[in-house]
Amino acid sequence: MTVVNTIRVNGVDHEIPANWQAKRLLDYLRTELKLVGVKEGCGEGDCGACTVLVDGEPMCSCLLLSGVVGGREVTTIEGLPREYLDKFSSACETHGGVQCGFCTGGVAVMSSWMKNGGTETGVEPVSKLLEGNICRCGGYQQLTNAIADIN
């Protein structure tokens, strides 16, 4: 079996060092690549703060080993298109979608996937698609409105 140990993160190829292969993708992104917009809220796949796109699909980076994503393309909040982030940010501003902000990066990544036609039917309710993202400040209504407002 060939082990593919390169990944493309936010458009840049990286070789995953041997000592990172069996460590969490979350830690590799945060520590090695300094992409600290990816947050650890629970480390158990429950809160969604560490959500990244792997080959375009949203995944919890706390549940993936770095070695497992070899050969794949990873997008973190830092790698979302500037134009999209501006829209998301301005919708959050308008609708009060941000309080402490710790969950917001994960929600931004999810929403970009939704807006890119990533979902199965394209008509699933936002609340269903975001059931894996916890906002303890309770901003669900505002985030839902903000996301609906992004075109």
């Binding site: 650890e40 158990e44 703060a49 909040i77 309080q99 402490c100 902000g101 917001t104 669900y140 505002q142």
Partner: protein, 735 residues
């Protein structure tokens, strides 16, 4: 010398695009990591700790044990919480700490510690603690940390007028704060200078406490608060801060500790679980006359803010209605549970759960509309409440009208009706809350502001208060923009930074915006006057802008003469006496909530169909922020009402230390929350504003319980009102 540049205060844009920096984001790779060896026992003496094997491991740099913190304890009222303990009082309490070069070495170091325990009998329920034949703290032989009693009014005379009583015994749960950012701290060191970087409610108060302790080591401590991923009442002084400060000083290395979620919850804090007996007496025509309350509060292993929360839970909700006599008593009882702590609402949601249900029950008994019942009995502008609160503005009537009208429209228009299995119900609840609580700590309930000019001419506004994510920074910006007529970008500001900012009491008791804005307005006034005085010397026109004046003053070396410092200390406010009597706040705020629920009688599940929240918060300074606070409070209240609790095994172990099993609200199933603000103006408030932080969470549990009663005609006495709980209430009736 440590670089004490304050962190940039993040904007909404920073926080929504991954650019905000929280404590764990600031830890450089390779920083020495600290971990804690936790007790597996709920109550035990630590007989010995052998550190030799751990110290011999490669990568382990240092180990701390209880001896290193001998005589040091934390506590707001009762200094009872050790830093590392030789007498364990809950499962997960820290016994020893390891500093190591990386995570693997740190974990190996903890595993290599040889700790010998002598297990003691423990108690995880307040009844068991009261009956425990040995004290959890030796100087509290009956396991009661604090007793409280109040009896304003002539009880014996007043109860003679009572014709109808409603009463019940209510149980509330130990809900974890479950903020999304787990506890983290980074300590930077240079010689005897220490900087603690950590999200907290009260950087000035932490620095004050920690400096007293660090003085013994010959060190000084400054506290820096970066972006903070939620707290809701949990992040104050904590033993892990002192462990990290000590390691950093001993090793002369920067150290960091970022707790995993599980550890954060095991060794965290929770809302104070309470049993509340309450009865309320009314006359036949609906006057609320007398109220009796007995509170048994589960303090957990250590007291923290427990004594103040006990007082608040015992009497604060009484102030909403014009009771003629009140009898309240409370006990704060040590158990071997996780130390319980203040949590948004400060014990008041617990007692509002009881009171608002009993008022609802009396209205039904007397065949009165619940809105009219509250209108008739509530305090209003100019009133002094039964515990001495002087109400300077009151929008309760407006709030009642708004919720009543919307419930009525919803009844007419929503098309929701009960059928055989699914029952529809409407409920409402009201609240009064104080803006700060000078009774808690009169001497330090102040807020300071410093306005200065940087060498490049930028105006710098430094407040001692802190941004928890609730919108403090936005309120400060808008206040300064308004008062100095300057724009964003023409000034910078500093919050929660003890080395360059002034003292502030911190974020608690819904005080931050009120105190900070008052201080800022006073500071801006002085700064403007200083600017006017300098206009001639600078050769500027009299209508020169503040920004122009500051810029030129900096260039010509006059920056220092512009500097303004101001302080806000509330007037006409007193510390409550031992019985909780006194006008403890500059202003009081009101709210009325309403809910429509659908209860599935087959499963007991409650589904909230629509929620209304009407708040009297005085002038709304930051509308978007205020709406966010209201909706967020409601959502947290829904978690407390329907799903959140700590499950504790008989041996004291927490069984649900994570989001999978502690059911915090998530996106699906959350109702639309319709938010309204009453048009009030408080003469004591900055720009007429009062407060918004805590009130939104307080009425939710009572409101939903009343709606459930309306749907299924069963009172709910236990939180959370899970499907099992509600189903049991429907199916275990005495035949």
């Amino acid at each position: 010398m440590l670089d004490m540049t304050p962190p940039k205060i993040s904007t909404i844009a920073d926080r929504s695009t991954g650019r905000a920096r929280y404590t764990s984001d600031l830890v450089p790779a390779g920083t020495t990591l600290v971990g804690i060896a936790r007790s597996p026992h709920a109550h035990a003496n630590v007989l010995s700790i052998d550190t030799s094997k751990a110290m011999a491991l490669p990568g382990v740099l240092d180990v701390l044990t209880p001896e290193d913190f001998s005589g040091v304890a934390l506590g707001h009222h009762i200094a009872d919480e050790p830093i590392l303990t030789d007498r364990v009082r809950y499962v997960g309490e820290g016994v020893a700490a390891v500093a190591a070069v990386d995570e693997a070495a740190m974990i190996a170091g903890i595993a290599a510690l040889d700790i010998e325990y002598e297990v003691l009998p423990h108690a995880i329920r307040v009844d068991d603690a009261l009956a425990l034949d040995r004290p959890i703290h030796d100087n509290f032989p009956d396991n009661v940390a604090r007793r409280f009693a109040a009896e304003p009014g002539d009880w014996d005379a007043e109860v003679k007028r009572v014709t109808h009583w409603a009463e019940g015994t209510f149980e509330t749960a130990a809900v974890p704060h479950a903020y999304l950012e787990p506890r983290a701290c980074l300590v930077r060191v240079d010689g005897n200078e220490l900087e603690l970087v950590s999200g907290t409610h009260a950087p000035s108060m932490l620095a004050d406490q920690y400096n007293k302790i660090a003085a013994v080591w010959g060190a000084t401590v400054e506290v820096t608060t970066p972006d903070m991923g939620g707290s809701f009442g949990a992040k104050w002084e904590h033993p892990t801060h002192l462990v990290c400060l000590s390691f950093a000083h001993r090793l002369q290395r920067d150290v960091a500790m970022v707790l995993p979620r599980r550890d954060d919850m095991i060794a965290g804090r929770t809302r104070i679980a309470m049993r509340i007996f309450m009865r309320i007496g009314a006359t036949a025509d609906g006057e609320l006359v007398a109220k009796q309350t007995k509170v048994w509060a589960d303090n957990g292993a250590y007291s923290l803010h427990g004594p103040s929360v006990l007082l608040a839970a015992s009497v604060r909700v009484d102030n909403l209605y014009k009771f003629s006599a009140v009898k309240a008593e409370g006990q704060l009882i040590y158990t071997n549970n996780i130390p319980s702590e203040c949590f948004r609402g400060f014990g008041i949601p617990q007692s509002a759960f009881a009171q608002e249900q009993l008022v609802d029950e009396l209205a039904r008994k007397l065949d009165l509309d619940p809105v009219e019942m509250r209108r008739r009995n509530a305090v209003g502008e100019g009133d002094t409440s039964v515990h001495g609160w002087e109400v300077t503005s009151c929008g309760l009537e407006d709030c009642l009208d708004m919720v009543r009208d919307r419930i009525q429209s919803h009844r007419n228009d929503s098309g929701l009706v009960s059928d055989g299995r699914f029952k529809i119900g409407y409920g409402l609840a009201a609240v009064i809350h104080c803006v700060s609580n000078s009774g808690h700590d009169e001497a330090t309930d102040i807020s300071n502001i410093i306005i200065s000019v940087d060498p490049d001419g930028t105006i710098c506004v430094a407040s001692g208060e802190v941004e928890l994510g609730a919108g403090t920074a936005e309120v400060l910006q808008r206040t300064v923009e308004r008062e100095l007529d300057i724009k964003r970008g023409q000034f910078r500001f500093v919050l929660g930074h003890t080395s360059t900012g002034p003292f502030g009491r911190g974020s608690f008791a819904s005080r931050t915006s009120f105190f900070m804005a008052h201080a800022a307005i006073a500071g801006c006034k002085i700064f403007s006057e200083n600017c006017s005085k300098l206009v001639d010397d600078l050769g500027l026109e009299t209508n020169a802008s503040i920004a122009e004046i500051a810029k030129l003053a900096a260039q010509k070396g006059h920056a220092e003469s512009l500097k303004a410092t101001a302080q806000f200390i509330p007037e006409n406010v007193v510390a409550a006496d031992d019985h909780g009597y006194g006008n403890i706040a500059s202003a009081y705020t009101f709210a009325v909530h309403g809910a429509c629920v659908k209860v599935d009688t087959l499963t007991g599940k409650t589904m909230i169909q629509q929620y209304w929240a009407a708040h009297d918060t005085g002038t709304v300074v930051n509308y978007q922020g205020a709406v966010g606070q209201v909706i967020g409070g409601v959502i947290q209240g829904i978690g407390m009402a329907l799903s959140e609790t700590t499950a504790v095994a008989e041996n004291g172990q927490l069984l649900n230390p994570g989001y999978l099993d502690d059911r915090v609200p998530t996106f699906p199933g959350m109702p639309n929350v319709d938010v309204h603000f009453a048009a009030t103006f408080d003469k004591n408030g900055p720009m007429g504003a009062k407060t918004i932080g805590e009130p939104p969470v307080i009425p939710v549990v009572g409101c939903i319980a009343n709606a459930i009663y309306d749907a299924v005609e069963e009172r709910q006495y236990t939180l959370p009102m899970t499907p099992e709980q509600v189903w049991n209430s429907l199916n275990t009736k005495v035949q």
